[in-house]
Structures are given as C-alpha cells and as structure tokens.
C-alpha cells in the first residue's frame, strides 16, 4: 500500500508531464493545465499521506523499483526511500508545485506554448522527486541532472527572444541564460560525480545507508575529498559563490518557474544534499566549517547586490541566494534540521513572493523595473497583501515563518562561537529587511510612476489568488510548527540543541536580530515609502555601481572565461587542427607526391641517361656492397 503511494507520489507528475507533452505542440488547451495540476495535487496528497505514515510509525519506507546499472561490481538500482527528510522535501515540493501549477494556468494563459510549459513543469517536479526520494547517490544524480535539464528548458522557455547586449538586459536572452545555468551546473556536477566516484571506490556501493555505515572506517582525507567534491556539486545547484551568476540570469524564465525552481525547490537541492549526506559532513569538520563560512559570505554578498537592484525578480533572486547562504551556514555548522526547516519555510514564503512578483509582472505587462512601478497597492490589493506577508517572513519579523527559521540559524552561529559569522548574518538580516521592503515600497507605495509608461495594471485572476493562499497561510504559520518539526526530523537527522549559554542569551540575541530587521524596514520606509527619489551622486558612486553590476563578476566571467575559451577554441581549430595536425598529414602526402615529381626527372626519356643510370647503379651497388662487407 505504502509502496503504491510512493509510486503515485513519484509518477503522478511524470504522468502529468507526458500527458501535457502529448499536446505539447498543439494549441493551448486549458484542460492540460488542469490535468497536470490535478495530478500534482494527487502527488501532494500521496506525499502527505506518506508523511503521516512516517510521522506515525517513524519508519522509513524503502522501495526497490528495478535494477539500473549493473556492471563490474557496481550495482545501482532505482530505489526510493521515504524517510523523514525526503518526506519533508516531498511535501514541500509537491505543495509548492501544485500551487505553482494552478498559478501557471492563470499566468500562462496567453502563451502559445501553454501545454509545453506544463509538460516541462511537471517533468521538473518528477525530477525533483527523484532527487529527494532516491536511496542512492546516483539516483540523486539522476534527479540532479533532471532538474537541471528542466530548469534549462524552462529558463529558455521563451527561446525566441533575441540576444541583447548586457547593458540592456543583464541576462542577455532566455536561451543564453538557460545555457549558462546548465553549463555552470555541469561544472559543479563534475565535482558531484567525482564525489560519487570517491565514495564508490572506497565503499563499494552508492546506497546511502551502506555508504554511511562504512564512513567510520575510511581515512580522513578520503572523507574530506568526498565531502569537498559533493559540496562542489551542491555549490552549483544552490548557486553558491563563485557559481552563483546563473541564478539571477535564470530569472529570464517565466515567473512561476522562478518561484518553483529558482526559489523553492531546485536551488535548495544543494542544501538537501548536504543534509542527506550529513554523516559524511559531520565527520569532516573543516569542510563543514568552510561550507558555513561560504554560506555566510554568500548570504551577505547576495544581500548586498539586492540592495541596489531595480529588477523585481532579480531582487528576489538575490534574496534567494542570500537565504541559501543561510541554509548552508546552518548545515555547515551542523544544525541540519534547522537548515531543513529554513529550507521548507523559505520555500513557502519565497514562492509566494515570486508568485506575487509574477502577478505584478502580469499586471505591468512584463515590466520588471521597480522604478517604473509604485502605488500598485490600490489596484492589486491581494497581491500587495501576499507580498507583504512574504516580505515580512523574509525579513524575519515575528510571527512569520522566516523569523523562526532564520533566527535559529543566527543563533546557531552564535552558539558555535563563530562570532564573525554571527555578526555577518545579523547584518545580513538587516540588509534583507531593507531590500525586501525597498521593493515592497517601490512597487506598491508612493507615486504611480507606471502611468508615465501607459500601463494599466489589473489584479490577477481570482482562482490564482485563491491558489496562492495556502502559501500565504504557511508563510504566516509555518514557524509555529518548529518544535513539532524538530521532534519529527531529529529521529533521522542529528539533533542540534543550543548550549545553555546561548539559551540564557536567547532573548538578547533575538532582540539584536529583530532590531536589525526592523531597522532595515524603517530605513526602507524612510527612503522609499513616499515615492522614488533618485540621487545621481549615490547612483554614480563606486559602491553603487559595483553592487548594481554584481561586482562585475558576470563581466569578469565573460572576459576571463567565455571569451578566452572561444578564442582558444577558434585558435585550436584554425591554428592547431588545420595548420598543424592536418597540415602535417597533408605535408607527408605532399612530400611523397613531390618526391615523385622530383624522382621522375630521372626518367628523361633519353636512352643515354638511362645507360648512365645503369652504370651509376652498378657503382652504387658496389659501394653499398663494399660498405656492407666492411661493416658486416
């Protein structure tokens, strides 16, 4: 029974994807979206039932579907495990997906490729479920790559858009952004593969349970190597520095995609991996600390870029990046359950935020510049409400979900004694609040700048708004489940408790964080609530430009990697392949040909020459024979 549920949960989205694919090239059919959403809902229900089962019994469900790769000594099955961690992910994924699917019916209703969109979207969910449910590293890798491809398809969904200069559109074009995302992920995937190789050759298996059972017997350096390699994989998927540029560019995709993939689910796969492989990371403290440090850095780094950005979606994307940094900080510090909790909470409010942004875009006819918005709260009340809730959650204002999860992470940093990380995280929390509300105020408050551009915004369809409501509710209440979740998840994940010392200081710490958050909001209010006031001096300052241009990292990559790569490729082809390798071959051929041309000159046609040749030949033979006689 439970096995069937597992399969239903897993394959319902796949069925939806295939169903939608059947109509993929046809005209827009609303029922395609409905069927896909319904199937996802089924999957969600199944996930919830599984969750209940796991909560009740506390035993994971392990399903072995079939053998996959058997070669040499390696045995890799398609096996799925539904335990506390994966079921959490499943519920989150299917829930957000269902909402996003329904949302998309509204959002994509004018798009020609409506059916195709659902096919991709469901396929993504399927891949994501494979990723989280697999019982072995290679199965995870299937999902890992699968979500990568779906992401590529969805980011590049509007493939017909032309390339634009970076100044006009920092992401150049959807297809460019899709390729960038895919390739950057591939770089990380190589690390992941290497990690899998290390694990296989040292443990002889890739099944999680068997691998983890053997970890204590492995030398430290191998554990370190495996952890580093796996984390490189995680860095790509979760867009950690320096592989972060693709995430903001991925905003070229339709907004539901951004909500689902680039906020709630796929990008958290890296965090999921670290959580999944927690026995390994727990045994490699140096690597874990590095993860935490990098996470903290990214949290700050991304938040800083969000401060000045004008693009509605990119701001949210930077915030996602920043929040992922928080999650890694938690995971790296050993607070796996907190990371997972933040992951889930973040999924809800970030998806909500994105969907809200999608509503705005829909209303603004795909205009994304917040400098061209303002005062939208009048026409888009519900959206304003949703985005407000989500922003509060993001900013970590109690009692919204973000407060509980993010606060726990910051406390963890303090608890571990890594005060530098703690300070940075606290500051980042303030920055988060600032840029979230900068965005909210610029979009919904102040003067109605959109009117200059002749835009007539309107509220989103009702059913879409209704569909978004579960997320809004969760963004508000999810935090209250924290103790319950803690109890549930720590049957599998290692428990993480604050020390006594931290407990004593907890109110102070919370107060500091809150102060920063509220301060951020206040600052945003002061600066932007009344309308947009642009200060050219600020905007021309070095820092501003640095932040606005993402520290010039995309340009740097372009100049230091893409262009040289293209140049070297061209040179290798034109100079090396054609001029050296191939030319050598041709030269050998020509050598013989020209030798022939040279030698044939002896064939003068003149008999006397021929006779001379005979005599010369005789003498030469004599010389050769004499030489041979002397040497021999």
């Amino acid at each position: 029974m439970m096995e069937t549920l597992v399969y239903i949960a897993l394959f319902a989205p796949f069925a939806g994807s295939l169903f939608a694919a059947l109509f993929g090239m046809g005209k827009r059919q609303v029922f395609v979206g409905i069927v896909a959403s319904a199937l996802l809902f089924i999957s969600f229900v199944a996930s919830v039932m599984l969750a209940i089962y796991v909560v009740k019994t506390g035993t994971p469900i392990h399903v072995m579907m079939m053998e996959w790769i058997n070669a040499g000594d390696i045995r890799i099955p398609f096996g799925f495990v539904v335990d506390q961690v994966s079921v959490t992910m499943m519920v989150v994924v299917t829930l957000v997906s269902t909402v996003v699917h329904i949302y998309s019916i509204g959002y994509m209703d004018h798009d020609k490729s409506f059916n195709r969109f659902f096919s991709y979207l469901s396929a993504f969910v399927f891949s994501m479920l494979v990723l989280v449910m697999s019982d072995n590293f290679l199965g995870l890798f299937i999902g890992w790559e699968g979500v990568g491809v779906c992401s590529w398809l969805l980011v590049g969904f509007w493939y017909h858009k032309p390339d634009q200069p970076r100044e006009v559109n920092p992401s150049i074009s959807p297809s460019w952004a899709a390729n960038e995302a895919f390739i950057m992920n591939r770089i990380a995937d190589l690390g992941m593969l290497i990690g899998i190789f290390i694990i296989y050759w040292n443990t002889g298996t890739l099944q999680y349970d068997e691998v983890f059972a053997q970890l204590p017997y492995l030398p430290q350096w191998i554990l370190d190597a495996a952890a580093i390699a796996l984390f490189i994989g995680a860095m790509g998927k979760s867009a950690q520095f320096p592989l972060h540029t693709w995430l903001t560019d991925a905003m070229e995709g339709p907004t539901p995609v951004s909500a689902l993939i680039h906020a709630a689910t796929m990008v958290t796969a890296g965090v999921f991996l670290v959580i999944r492989a927690n026995p390994l990371f727990a045994m490699t403290p140096e690597v874990s600390f590095f993860i935490a440090a990098l996470g903290t850095f990214v949290a700050f780094f991304a938040a800083s870029m969000a401060l000045v950005n004008r693009d509605l979606k990119r701001i949210i994307a930077f915030s996602t990046l920043s929040q992922l940094g928080y999650m890694f900080a938690a995971a790296g510090l050993g607070a796996y359950w907190i990371a997972l909790f933040h992951l889930a909470a973040h999924a809800f409010f970030k998806a909500l935020l994105f969907l809200g942004a999608g509503n705005v875009m829909h209303a603004m006819h795909d205009e994304l510049d917040i400098f061209k918005m303002g005062g939208l709260k009048k026409v888009m009340k519900w959206t304003y409400l949703y985005m407000g809730i989500a922003s509060l959650a993001l900013a970590g204002i109690p009692p919204f979900a973000g407060f509980f999860s993010k606060d726990a992470i910051i406390e963890t940093a303090f608890n571990e004694g890594t005060y530098v990380l703690w300070i940075i995280l606290v500051v980042t929390a303030g920055m988060t609040a600032f840029y979230s509300f900068r965005q909210v105020f610029l979009t919904f408050w102040g003067d109605e700048r959109y009117k200059q551009y002749g835009i007539h915004p309107h509220e989103m369809y009702k059913f879409v708004l209704v569909a978004m409501s579960p997320l809004a509710v969760l963004a508000i209440i999810a935090g209250f489940f924290q103790p319950w979740f803690h109890e549930f998840i720590t049957t599998l994940l290692p428990d993480y408790e604050m020390s006594h010392h931290t407990h004593e200081l907890i109110l102070v710490l919370t107060a500091i964080v809150l102060a920063f958050a509220v301060g951020g909001i206040a600052l945003a209010y002061k600066m932007y609530a009344k309308g947009l006031k642009r200060d050219p001096k600020v905007e021309n300052s070095f820092i501003y430009r640095l932040l606005a241009n993402q520290y010039y990292i995309p340009q740097l990559y372009e100049e230091m990697i893409s262009k040289p790569y293209a140049m070297i490729s061209e040179a290798l082809w034109q100079k090396v392949d054609l001029k050296i390798v191939d030319a050598t071959v041709d030269t050998i051929a020509k050598f013989f040909y020209y030798t022939g041309d040279g030698v044939r000159k002896m064939q003068t046609g003149n008999l006397s020459n021929y006779l001379n040749w005979m005599a010369v030949g005789g003498v030469a033979l004599l010389v050769v024979a004499a030489l041979s006689a002397v040497i021999g």
């Binding site: 003149n606 006397s608 001379n612 005599a615 010369v616 005789g618 003498v619 004599l622």
Partner: protein, 187 residues
C-alpha cells in the same frame, strides 16, 4: 718470350683500336678499328691455344658481323662525321675509370686457384677443334641448338623488321570508326 711480346703488342693495339672505336666521330673509322681490334682479339685466342675460337672469331665477327654493320652503315648513310651532343664526359669517364679500376683490382687479385680441377679438360694429344667439338656436341648440344633457335629468331626478326610490311602501320591506320570519332572530337 714470343708470347709475351705478342701479348703486349696485341694488348696495346686492341686497346688503342677500341679506343678509336669508342672515341672516333667517324663511323667508318670506328667500324674499321672495331674490325681490326676483333682481328687482334682472335690473335689473343691463338696465343691462348683456342685456335678454333680464334677462327670463329674471325669468321663471325670480322666476317659476318662487320659485314652486317657495313650494310647498315650504307643504309643509314652514316659516312659523315657524327655530331654528338649533351655528353657528360666527366661522369662517363669517371664511371668508366671507376669500373676499370674495380675490374682491374679484382682481376689483379689472386683469383686463380691451382686446386680447381678442370671439368672439361683440354687434351694435349688432340687438336683444339676436336676437343671443342666433343664438348660442344655432347655437353653443350642443347645450348648449341638453342643458339640455333636464337639465330633463327634473329633472322626472322631482321627480316620482318626490315620488311616492306612494316611501312604501312596497321596500328595507326584509321578505320571508319576512328574517323567518326576523330571528326566528333574535332567538333
């Protein structure tokens, strides 16, 4: 003693005569000196006791072959001096000299062996002609007959090559088809 004198005399003369044969620009001189040299070579044969060979040399070479050449010379009307171009004398003489050097060195070496028993010894008691005859018509009967065939071949070859039938070449005569093709190509 006589043998020595005869040898050196004949040697000097043949070398000289053949040099003329090789170097002369005049066919007539060349041919005459060739004939004379061949006569002197038969002298060598006589010194060496190969009387029969000497006679054959005289008859065949000096008689038959030189006669053939004479006729040919008349046919070719080659009494004039001959102009020869393009001769790379240095190479030629270097090659000639080198080969002479090697051959002389080779022959100057002790090539002769006392211990080799003649397979077909000459008999002091009988004349050279009989001796030769016996060997020629027993051991060398087959080569002799083959030589006869060879001479037949040479005869036939000489006849047909010099014959009238060669004047009209069937290989180059154009039949009707060929003419059609040729005219076609010309278009």
């Amino acid at each position: 003693m006589y043998e020595t004198i005869a040898f050196y005399l004949f040697s000097a003369l043949t070398i000289g005569l053949f040099l003329i044969t090789v170097m002369s620009k005049n066919v007539l001189y060349a041919m005459t000196s060739l004939a004379a040299g061949m006569v002197l070579i038969s002298g060598f044969f006589f010194i060496l006791g190969a009387d029969f060979l000497g006679v054959v040399q005289l008859i065949v070479y000096v008689g038959a072959i030189m006669a053939l050449y004479s006729f040919a010379m008349m046919f070719f009307d080659a009494t004039r001096d001959i102009k020869e171009r393009n001769t790379n004398s240095a190479l030629v003489f270097a090659l000639g000299g080198l080969s002479a050097l090697v051959l002389v060195l080779m022959f100057a070496a002790p090539i002769y062996s006392e211990n080799i028993k003649a397979l077909y010894p000459m008999h002091e008691s009988i004349g050279n002609a009989q001796d030769v005859g016996i060997v020629l018509f027993t051991k060398y009967l087959v080569p002799f007959e083959v030589a006869a065939v060879m001479l037949l071949v040479a005869m036939i070859a000489g006849i047909i090559l010099a014959g009238k039938k060669m004047d009209q070449s069937l290989t180059e005569d154009l039949s009707a088809d060929d003419e059609i093709l040729t005219t076609k190509d010309a278009k």
